[in-house]
């Protein structure tokens, strides 16, 4: 598997998915690209492939400031994939990092967490 690394832009987050460190997967930034589904397609594929390779455990760190609805949908799909892996016995952790004064980011994290069984940690940052 390839290391999927995409630098952040004004409207897309940093993507840092290294298959050698499945416990340190990271997505961070803003997300409102022109074509959300095209942007997230390779990311969904990468995650799917990672799960197929059955890593000992997976930790995904998300630090997202703003997401448009298309991006929210894509993250729901990513998280559901990870939830499925969790159900199949892969230990999965999701860390949702949010700035403590960003209420909306916290609410979004709570919305996601509510629909998932995997370990979802809401982590406030000063």
């Amino acid at each position: 598997m390839q290391h999927l690394y995409i630098q952040a832009t004004e409207a897309t987050p940093l993507i840092d998915l290294n298959p050698n460190t499945p416990d340190a997967l990271r997505i961070e930034g803003e997300s409102y690209p022109e074509n959300t589904f095209e942007f997230y397609h390779p990311i969904l594929q990468w995650i799917s492939e990672l799960i197929y390779h059955r890593p000992a455990s997976i930790t995904l760190q998300l630090r997202l400031f703003y997401l448009n609805t298309g991006s929210i949908k894509c993250f729901m799909d990513i998280l559901e994939m990870l939830d499925e892996a969790h159900h199949q016995g892969v230990p999965v952790q999701v860390e949702w990092l949010y700035d403590e004064d960003n209420e909306r980011a916290l609410e979004l994290g709570e919305d996601f967490a509510e629909d998932l069984d995997l370990a979802f940690h809401l982590v406030a940052q000063a």
Binding site: A11, Y32, E34, Y66, T69, K73, E80, R104, D111, D115
Partner: protein, 189 residues
């Protein structure tokens, strides 16, 4: 022919308490650039963080809806020019409780209007709890092949708004298109 009086136009904007205005073809670049201006402006006015996030979110959903509609609907370059032409305004409401209005307008094909207005009318009948349920349901639905989006944009706008979504349809010179305006109020407190 009398030339356009820009000072008068500016006064018109100021009287209507318009903070930012755009009229022309939208692109992702324009959306990002103007979004940056929206954020900077609200930050300078010490608007509550959540209100800033809500105004930004409504602005992004509105403008990306117009841009997606133009991209998916236009059958020719000429049609794309017409459909991507947007009027975008962000204003401050003159009400007792401070609120922001995010307004946008574009051309929509006559045959696409009933579906859109039915959807807005339906969303407007829902309370916060029902909106959340519908939102979550849409979020978990698999995407339909060829769908333009997840169908979440207008639900999101209503969830951020403190009043029902307001729209208006006006005739244009052509029978094919109507001029569709959407206005969303976001309360600052």
């Amino acid at each position: 022919m009398p030339s356009l009086d820009l000072l008068e136009l500016r006064h018109t904007f100021e009287r209507a308490r318009i903070l930012l205005a755009f009229n022309g073809p939208v692109s992702q670049g324009i959306i990002e650039e103007m979004g940056r201006a929206v954020r900077a402006h609200l930050e300078n006015h010490a608007v509550a963080k959540h209100a800033l996030a809500d105004v930004f979110s409504v602005y992004i959903e509105q403008t990306q809806n117009i841009h997606h509609y133009a991209r998916h609907q236009a059958a020719s370059a000429e049609a794309f020019t017409q459909l991507s032409h947007a009027t975008i305004l962000i204003g401050q409401q003159q009400t007792e409780t401070p609120a922001y209005q995010v307004m946008s307008a574009n051309l929509i094909a006559q045959q696409d209007l009933p579906k859109l207005t039915d959807w807005i009318d339906e969303i407007n009948t829902l309370d916060a709890k029902a909106l959340r349920t519908l939102y979550k349901q849409k979020l978990r639905q698999p995407l339909v092949q060829g769908a333009k989006g997840a169908g979440l944009g207008l639900i999101e706008m209503r969830r951020r708004a403190c009043q029902p979504l307001s729209y208006r349809i006006q005739d244009t010179e052509t029978a094919e298109y109507k001029f569709f305006s959407l206005s969303v109020s976001v309360c600052a407190s």
